[in-house]
C-alpha cells in the first residue's frame, strides 16, 4: 500500500494554516509540518497555537510560520 503524500509547499516567512475537526488532528498535522520543515532546513518562527471555534464552526485551527534555520 502506498503512503498518501500530504506534504505541502512550505515557504519561509509565509504562514501555513491547518484546520481539522479535533485538537489532536490539528496537532498531528502540525507535527507533520514541523518534520517536513525541519527536513527542508526550516524552523518554526511564530504561531502554532491551536485555536478553537475561531470561525464559529466548532473546528480547530492553527497558523504557523517557518523561517530558514
Amino acid at each position: 500500500m502506498s503512503k498518501k503524500n500530504d506534504t505541502i509547499a512550505i515557504v519561509s516567512g509565509e504562514p501555513v494554516t491547518v484546520i481539522a475537526d479535533s485538537r489532536n488532528d490539528v496537532a498531528k498535522k502540525l507535527a507533520d509540518l514541523r518534520a517536513q520543515a525541519a527536513s527542508e532546513g526550516l524552523t518554526p518562527a511564530t504561531g502554532g497555537f491551536i485555536e478553537y471555534n475561531t470561525a464559529g464552526d466548532g473546528k480547530f485551527s492553527a497558523v504557523i510560520t517557518f523561517v530558514e534555520s
Binding site: 485538537r23 490539528v26 496537532a27 502540525l30 507535527a31 524552523t43 518554526p44 518562527a45 511564530t46 504561531g47 502554532g48 497555537f49 491551536i50 485555536e51 478553537y52 471555534n53 475561531t54 480547530f60 492553527a62 497558523v63 504557523i64 523561517v67
Partner: protein, 137 residues
C-alpha cells in the same frame, strides 16, 4: 516537545493566535458554580453537589506599551468583540512558538478589564483580562 515540568516563562497566553508579546506574567482561572442538590432522599450526612455552570478567564500583564498595541487594546475593549484566547507551552524564537502541550486550551473571550499603570520613569505596565464566553476546548 512538551517537557514533564515547565517553568513559568514557557507558559504563555495567546490572543488571536499569537503569543501576547512582552508578557511579564499571566494567569488562567477555571471555575465552576456549584449547587447543593441534597434532598430528603439523600442517604447519610454528606451534602451532594452538582456543577451548574463553568467559567474561565485569562489575564496577562505586559510591558508592551507601543502606540499600536495600546490602541488595539482600547479598540478591542470598546468593540465588545470576541477574540480567540488560550494558553500553551512555548519555545523557539522569542519563546513564542506554541508547542501544543496536553494542557493547551482555547476559546472565545471578551476583553472585560484593561488597566494601564504608568509611573514616572518606569516601564508602563498593561494588564488585560479576558472573560471566556462559551466552551473551552
Amino acid at each position: 516537545m512538551a517537557l514533564t515540568k515547565i517553568m513559568g516563562e514557557h507558559f504563555r497566553t495567546f490572543v488571536g493566535g499569537n503569543a501576547v508579546p512582552e508578557a511579564v506574567n499571566c494567569s488562567v482561572t477555571i471555575s465552576g458554580s456549584m449547587e447543593d442538590s441534597t434532598t430528603k432522599d439523600t442517604v447519610g450526612s454528606y451534602a451532594q453537589e452538582q456543577m451548574t455552570s463553568k467559567d474561565w478567564n485569562v489575564s496577562v500583564e505586559t510591558r508592551d506599551a507601543s502606540l499600536a498595541s495600546l490602541r488595539a487594546l482600547i479598540t478591542r475593549f470598546n468593540s465588545d468583540a470576541k477574540v480567540t484566547v488560550g494558553w500553551d507551552q512555548t519555545a523557539g524564537t522569542q519563546n513564542r512558538v506554541a508547542q501544543n502541550a496536553p494542557f493547551a486550551r482555547s476559546g472565545q473571550a471578551i476583553l472585560n478589564d484593561l488597566s494601564i499603570q504608568a509611573n514616572n520613569r518606569t516601564n508602563i505596565q498593561v494588564s488585560s483580562q479576558y472573560q471566556g464566553s462559551g466552551a473551552l476546548a
